[in-house]
Subunit: 386 residues, 2 copies
Amino acid sequence: MSTKPLIRLMFLGTMLCMSLFALGQPPTGPFVISPQVHADKKVTFSYLAPDAKEVKLSGQFLKAAVSMTKGASGIWSVTVGPVKPDIYPYSFIVDGVNVMDPANAEFFPNERFKGSLVDIPGDKPLIHAVTDVPHGTVSYQSYPSIEGSTGSMVVYTPPGYEKDAAKKYPVFYLISGTTDTEETFFKVGRINFILDNLIAAGKAKPMIVVMPYGNPAARIAEQKGLPKPSDLISREGADAVNRSKMFETDLMTKLIPFVEKNYRTISNRDARAVGGFSRGGGQTLRAGFANMDQFAWICCYSAYLSTPEMESSYRNVYENPDKTNKDLKLLWVSVGNEDFLYNQTVEFLDFLKAKRVNYKSLITGGGHTWMNVKSYFAETAQLLFK
Amino acid sequence: MSTKPLIRLMFLGTMLCMSLFALGQPPTGPFVISPQVHADKKVTFSYLAPDAKEVKLSGQFLKAAVSMTKGASGIWSVTVGPVKPDIYPYSFIVDGVNVMDPANAEFFPNERFKGSLVDIPGDKPLIHAVTDVPHGTVSYQSYPSIEGSTGSMVVYTPPGYEKDAAKKYPVFYLISGTTDTEETFFKVGRINFILDNLIAAGKAKPMIVVMPYGNPAARIAEQKGLPKPSDLISREGADAVNRSKMFETDLMTKLIPFVEKNYRTISNRDARAVGGFSRGGGQTLRAGFANMDQFAWICCYSAYLSTPEMESSYRNVYENPDKTNKDLKLLWVSVGNEDFLYNQTVEFLDFLKAKRVNYKSLITGGGHTWMNVKSYFAETAQLLFK
């Protein structure tokens, strides 16, 4: 092996541990616990790297990356906080290289960057906490998608779904952001636990949530074994509006029919919502505005459509605002005032206002983050299907 | 921000891309496609790191890590192979730091190491390939576990499960290895696609597969907010046999009752199998041998029990071998001849043989790998419940 000493050490350590585990013996060697969340909401992060020259912690609870200190056993660590209770992405920067925390199994599913997640619990359980209430089921589903491809989605069914074979439910189609996957609203957004808690408290209607993978163009290229052109690398790219249309075709002609055939859904527009974050927010607005006969609820988190696009493609929304205001039971737009899309989103709201299209907006602190998305989801989940 | 130039560049690039995506404009900057699997089964791996001094590729398809070459745009790359079709874990070693491939969303769920996965398709679809057959459903489930904790598991239900509300199914309880999670048999083992294919070909009986998290001691400590003692770090550790007993208690008193209450199971020993890999293989043998009145099928992949443990705890298995041979419809043990547990596993088989306990064994090439686990699972899935 031409690997460096650290890697060789870790490899040997792993093999040794596995042997010893199998024999029922204690493991040896330096082990790392990370992160450790303390009672006072301070958090200690640790990373084993005897040969590294510099290790930093980067996290969405920090204004800037902080240096970690090397201990005797080659374990770098830092304690930060107190940190406001929430779930935050973080990573280590090891001699300039961004890495997940190898001691932590909680990760951020994404096609581009790799982050770990730290969960700082509140004194009272936060809205996404795992509490002792009935839990829904989260399923990974394949479905026959456009161009003969196999689509993928994650589906939440509410507590009791399996029990009453006659009961039907409304459906929230929920689309995540650029380079996110169909897992992100589940693994980072924790929408299953949020809904479990809201339903148990009588604050949200029991609903099915369908979370598709949002970039069928990239998936199709992958499944056909085609070389991906550079504008597909990011699984979005050059032709975002056409790609959004492709997603919309998949949603309307493949995904929704599949869901309504295979789940016990209430299959009318009053029981159908569409929502999404970032790129998924744009897709939400486009799919929702083009199909107002199919969706009565539209939830846009941290995204917008430009005035030129509204004028070229979605005149139907504002040319007869009274009809839109009657048809749409909810048009929701929320954004953080530190979001890099904040100004554009405010312009979009101003556009809607000038056109007398009703909406509900929520401007919060914070940026283009999943901490905000969680709170937006929790707000809208309490409005839907009522 | 005190981050290094590379990180800052990536951060700005990400922000720029996200803005441009939202505006429907093409992204700019260096983008990486990795991995790229070519028609001739060669594979190109790429990693953007303008400031790195050395980048290597480490993968389970290689005998040793190979050096990557830096290109003009700061993208390091290497082409290897042809590689035998399969799914392999790999990572990059960037100036000595082991990292996942940031361009690849397919990862290896694990509590210690972080790896990406590359899927080299066969000329004919491999047993785990996504093919155009009816697909089962994979669900993430919570359940009330021991000591008031909330347990987690992943559950496969076969195609058609949702359709026929009267049909009941046998259940395979499947436990993954040390530091693996309840996701590993799904995400790395692809047991859902393997079963979809085998069931469609009439080679396996439709069955439910329940994949619990295998280390309740660590989960309970975590949920209670207890500091984890060092022997829990690896979520196994010092007291493997007692931990295995704790798992067994959870399995027999909490998990199986929950599954049989909430899924349409055939609830008798002939329709109950237990299996597992590595630490999960040890847990399989212990839970199976201690509860032969509950399980008629035992599948041990790349694991064993020592002669002292058999003699101290599982005399019931071999003191009346005729009864065991009649009771157990399958006692399966498989291992690779390069596995670091190979010798101990052969000793275990010799022990069983000397005691006249029947078993089926499969000795393959290869080591303690998920490539082997997939093939073992596919073999045993065709034997179960027949």
